[in-house]
């Protein structure tokens, strides 16, 4: 079993979904919830075993499993993990039980909902672990349908519009990805049998003419930029996040957006290093625009959920900026930020959902004074707001700091601009908190209940991790560093990781902040 941990992580939720589908008629709603929860918890447990077996010092892919799947096509079932995907997989398997627990109140079509959730988990984990490009694409596309159904089936008023928009945006992006993958595949066949193996395609991509490589870079880039989402392809995100049910928003923000940034790092950077440097300025500009534009949009939102959604645009801009700075600090910071954003924004959506369940409004204007009736909920809210705003000692600080520091080393302008956004983030987050928590309490909100035991169980692990990763980020960085190092060295072929300056990472990681 030890050598099949990755496969087990991918398959567990799917098996759970199949069991649910098969027994759906005789299960009560409660049984379905419990079954889904047990499945996701078991998946999380298995993924922790991956962490245990993980060799932090090793740069390449570990625990690789390869089975020929479709021989005639050259499609392999090829999965492996490295320092980047390790944490994203753990983030995913961690957030899923949380989301299932958070959707305990879903009353309609519970079995179908849980099946969609479990299939979604398989697809997401699969896309983080796949090392075969077509396999990756398969999982990448497979994310669409369950997420689409979750938004469209259990979302709020304008859900159908949001669901279709989500579906079409992502599908349009991935269309070009498919052509690019097939193009590489066709090239890999001369000589030898064609393959989708990422490790074998990397040298093939390196041998392409410069112009071709740039076009392929763009094809990959569009697919992932939609997913991230990068300005100006972000317009699906506010709709999808706002209309999705709470768990849907948590997973969209927490996990799905990371598939985009992960793809940029894993495929664009490693396969097209020259094209990456060629387009770095362009991508960075888009990222900075996204950071500031997202923050400004968040500032003017009156809908709490939409505000959080726009904050995601801003935060994900950081991640992309970090990745395309090509310094050890910035890229590691970017990866950290993926994990941190998943936790912090996930928690924010959870809290917004809990507030909504009680007040039945997402409008900031209709809230106010809630801290006096729900001190625990709002206390947790404040904690998460601080975490999201990047307060030192909480997780996002480390990631943002590393990204800004790493970017500053490359470009003062981008570094400075992104630092402004940190200030903006503090403003919109604290201001929105103020409007929710303080001020006059509305009469109808006077008897709202505080957190229930289930809700505490949902929030506590997330908040704990926000703190742990803030205080002891080395837990993450020691396995992320070697992987990002490998990615950067490919881009900056003449330099090794140490030349580019990795000194700040251990310093921060060990808590000795400069």
């Amino acid at each position: 079993m030890r050598q099949h941990l990755l496969t087990l992580t991918i398959l567990f939720p799917l098996v759970g979904a199949v069991v649910l589908a098969a027994t759906g008629r005789i299960l009560s709603d409660r049984d379905a919830r419990i079954l889904a929860l047990i499945t996701t918890l078991a998946t999380f447990a298995v993924s922790l075993l991956i962490l245990r077996d993980f060799d932090t010092g090793f740069r390449g892919y570990q625990q690789v499993e390869a089975v020929s799947w479709v021989r005639s096509l050259g499609l392999q079932y090829l999965v492996g993990v490295d320092g980047i995907s390790l944490w994203l997989v753990l983030l995913t398997t961690f957030l899923f039980p949380v989301s299932i627990l958070a959707s305990w109140k879903v009353e309609s079509n519970v079995v179908r909902y849980m099946i969609a959730m479990l299939v979604l988990e398989t697809a997401v984990v699969g896309s983080f672990l796949a090392l075969d490009l077509l396999l990756f694409f398969l999982f990448f596309e497979a994310i669409l349908v369950p997420m689409y159904l979750i938004i469209g089936g259990w979302g709020s008023a304008n859900r159908v519009y949001a669901a279709i928009k989500f579906f079409l945006f992502t599908m349009a992006g991935s269309a070009f990805l498919l052509v690019a993958i097939l193009f590489l595949y066709a090239r890999s066949g001369q000589p030898g049998p064609p393959t989708f193996d990422l490790r074998l395609l990397t040298p093939v991509a390196a041998g392409l003419p410069v112009q071709t490589a740039r076009w392929l870079f763009l094809a990959f880039f569009v697919a992932f930029a939609v997913k991230v989402p990068l300005f100006p392809l972000h317009t699906w995100l506010p709709d999808a996040h706002t209309e999705a049910p709470t768990a849907g928003s948590v997973l969209l923000a927490g996990v799905l957006l990371k598939v985009g940034t992960y793809g940029l790092l894993r495929f664009n950077l490693s396969m097209f290093p020259q094209a990456s440097t060629y387009f770095a300025a362009f991508v960075s500009i888009l990222a900075v625009i996204g950071i500031i534009y997202g923050a400004l949009c968040a500032l003017i939102q009156t809908d709490l959920k939409r505000l959080v959604a726009y904050s995601s645009v801003s935060h994900l801009g950081f991640v992309v900026l970090g990745i395309f700075a090509f310094t050890q600090q910035a890229v590691t910071g970017g990866v950290l930020q993926m994990v941190n954003h998943g936790l912090a924004t996930g928690a924010l959506f959870l809290l917004v959902g809990m507030v909504y369940e009680r007040t039945h409004t997402r409008e900031l204007a209709d809230m106010g004074g809630l801290a006096s009736v729900m001190p625990v909920l709002l206390g947790a809210f404040l904690f998460v707001v601080f975490a999201s705003a990047g307060l030192p000692g909480l997780s996002s600080f480390v990631g943002e700091f590393l990204v800004i520091a790493g970017t500053f080393a490359v470009s003062h302008l981008f570094g400075a601009l992104s630092a402004i956004a940190v200030v903006l983030a503090a403003i919109y987050l604290l201001w929105s908190y103020q409007r929710v928590a303080y001020g006059p309490l509305r009469e109808e909100h006077r008897h709202l209940p505080d957190l229930s035991g289930r809700e505490v169980a949902v929030l506590a692990p997330v908040l704990a991790l926000l703190l742990v990763f803030g205080v002891y980020p080395k837990l993450l960085t020691r396995s992320i560093d070697p992987a990002t190092c490998a990615a950067i060295e490919r881009v900056r072929s003449s330099q090794t990781c140490a030349d580019i300056g990795s000194a700040a990472v251990p310093a921060v990681a060990e808590g000795r902040q400069p």
Binding site: V70, V145, R159, L168, A175, L182, Y185
Partner: protein, 488 residues
Amino acid sequence: MIPTPALEFRPILPEILLCTFAIVGMLYEAFARRPDPVPHLAIAIVGIGPAAVTAYALWDWSGPSYVLGDTVAVDRFSVVSRFVLLGAAFVGCLYYTHYASRDPGSFRGEFYPLTLFATAGMTLITAANDLIVIFLALELLSLSLYVLTGITGRRRASEAAMKYFLLGAFSSAFFLYGVAMAYGAATSTKIVGVAAPGIVQALAGQTGSQALALLAMALLVVGFAFKVSAAPFHMWTPDVYQGAPTPVVAFMGAATKVAAFFALIRVFDVGLQPLTWDWTPVIYGLAVVSIVVGSVVAIAQRDVKRLLAYSSIAHAGFILTGLTAANSTGIGAAMFYLVAYAVVTLGAFGIVMLVSARGEEQTSLDAYAGLARRSPGLAALMTVFLLSLGGIPPTAGFIAKVTVFSAAIGAGNWPLAVVGVVASVVAAYFYVRVIVYMYMREPAEGIESDDGVMPRIAAGVLAAGIVVLGIFPGILTGILEPASIVRW
């Protein structure tokens, strides 16, 4: 003494059986006391089953590759197509039996013999090695289908049949003229000649007239494009799909496409192989136009049968995309696509039939509103079929799409693949819209429902096949690989 070719009937036993039982069915219809679909179904199955067995016996054929005076080819390529076509005929007959039982007034016993005749024409067209035989088979299947289209005698069906007949007659004329030109160019109508040089030998040896050959190619393209409903020769498709009874559409939509494409592959990739450089641009153009027209016009459709008709035009374009590769990869990709498409089409129209209920009034999108609430099973099956049509994993449609694009890109036709993927995004919109209606709308008032069990089982099996092929496409590619036709 007139030399006669050696007569070897085993390779056309499937067709002989089909025609025999079609005649038995007609006789039964003539003398039957009262209309009853069950004996008809039994006769049809007795014809289809042994036809499949005799077709299977040809898989390991050790005799000559061409029989009956080189007019019929014996190869695994035609065995595969026979299986798909016989399967489609079987499912079509099952559907019609249900269709007739829920609306006894509209029952016409002729459905079964006509379907068998059409199937015989279709299986023959994929095995024919002679343009004349192809033409005869084409006429056999076309005439049967014209009648099948109008079989209920409803106004819309009659109108569709008339349109189909008129336009089909034109295309047949084009095709026949093409055959004449080919004869002029090669002094033979055999695709591959054994006793005497056939078209491919004449063209390869540059003995024929190049101008006539090109003219023949153009005319044959028109004839085939009509049958596979590639734009701009698709005009009949939406009307016929909408007007014809749904069981007929299920059979026709799946089987005609398979038969015509298999014949097209044989004629172009074998017979006109020396002209590959001339016909690939034409196929390329047809592919682009079909994909774009099919995908874009489908957006505006509110009738699900019409929507699937336009989708079938787009799919013809995708299959042509694979064929632009003009190599064994492309042929294999097209074959996989055709099998997957046939399965999906049969399944999807089965659901359409069940939803449309008696009298087939309920074919608009509104009838699908809240289907997941009314009958979750049907909605789930329809979702599988729609996802496969849209090429979304884990369905066979996804693998099919990947293989045809992969073949096209491998041959350097990546712009075509770009057109294809962009169109498939457009297409995703209208497939997903049906899913939206089924899952996210409230059911409309006064919708009749149909609890037919047999079509449900059939559709369920087809959907399972789609998913299994999507996850383990190796099952099918393993069969198709040795069955791929050999380019000359």
